[in-house]
Symmetry: C2
Subunit: 132 residues, 2 copies
DNA sequence: CTGAATCCGATCAGATACTG
DNA sequence: CAGTATCTGATCGGATTCAG
C-alpha cells in the first residue's frame, strides 16, 4: 500500500507533480494560511504578506481560484470590493500545510546548526586546497 | 497559541520562509521520498527521478546536505561510489511530506474538475466580450 | 480599489564539455 | 561514476503604466 502511494514520484508529467508544484510555490502557502483565519480583501492580503508585489498576488490568487482552493467574490459597488475566501477544499489543504509549518518551526534551530557546520567544513576544505 | 504559530507569515525574511522555500522546491520532495526507502547512489537517483538533469540533482543534493537532511558518503574506490542517505532529521521531514502527497493523491480529481470549470467559465466570458 | 498589460533585468535550469 | 564549469535560452518576478 505504501508502495502504491509512492509510485508517483518516478513520472515527471503526472498530475500529482503539477499540483505539488502549485501549492508549494512561494506565496500560495501564505495566502492559504491567512484566508484560513477569515475572508480578506485584495488590499488586506497585500498588506499582510510582506514582500509580495501586486502582480504576484494577483497571479497567485488566480491559480488558487482555478484549482478550487480559493473563492473570489466581486461586489458590484464603487469603489470595487473583492473578497477572497478559502473553499472547503482549501480548508482541508490548510490542515496539511499547517503540519509542514509546525515542523519547520520546531526544527529551524537544528537546520541552522547543520548549515553552519556544513559551511565551516567547506571553508576548511578550501583552505586546504588553497595552501598546499 | 494558534496565533503564535502563524505569526511567521507576515515577515518576508524570517527563517521559516527560507526553509519552506528550500524543502518546497521542485526536486527536494522527490529525493527525500526516494531516500526514505533506502540509501541510493547518485546515478540511481538520477535514473529514478524522471526529468532531472545532472546539474539540478547535484544542486538539490548539496542543499539537502547543507540543511542536514541528507548525508553524503564518499567511498574511496575506483570507480567512485557516493551514497546518499536520509538523516534522522530528514526522516522526520519525510513524515510531513508524506501527508502532503497523500492529500494531493486524494484530491487531484477534485482539483481537475475545478480547473475545467474555471477554464470553461473564462472561455465563456471571453466569448461574450469578443462578440458584443 | 482591483486589477490587466507591458517592459526588462535577474535568476534558473538544460545542454555541453571537461576532470579525477 | 560522480561530479565541476561554462554558456545560453527560458522563465520569473518587480516596476511601471493604464483602466474599469
Amino acid at each position: 500500500m505504501d508502495d502504491d502511494v509512492w509510485q508517483w514520484d518516478t513520472r515527471a508529467d503526472c498530475e500529482v507533480r503539477q499540483i505539488l508544484d502549485r501549492i508549494a510555490d512561494k506565496w500560495s502557502l501564505l495566502v492559504i494560511a491567512l484566508l484560513e483565519r477569515r475572508t480578506m480583501r485584495f488590499t488586506e492580503l497585500r498588506r499582510e504578506i510582506d514582500g509580495v508585489s501586486q502582480r504576484m498576488l494577483t497571479v497567485t490568487l488566480r491559480h488558487l481560484e482555478r484549482d478550487g482552493l480559493v473563492e473570489r467574490t466581486v461586489h458590484p459597488v464603487v469603489p470595487p470590493r473583492v473578497d477572497y475566501a478559502l473553499t472547503p477544499l482549501g480548508a482541508t489543504l490548510h490542515e496539511v500545510i499547517k503540519s509542514l509549518v509546525v515542523w519547520t518551526e520546531e526544527h529551524q534551530n537544528h537546520i541552522a546548526v547543520a548549515r553552519s557546520a556544513y559551511d565551516a567544513r567547506i571553508a576548511a576544505e578550501e583552505r586546504l586546497l588553497g595552501a598546499p
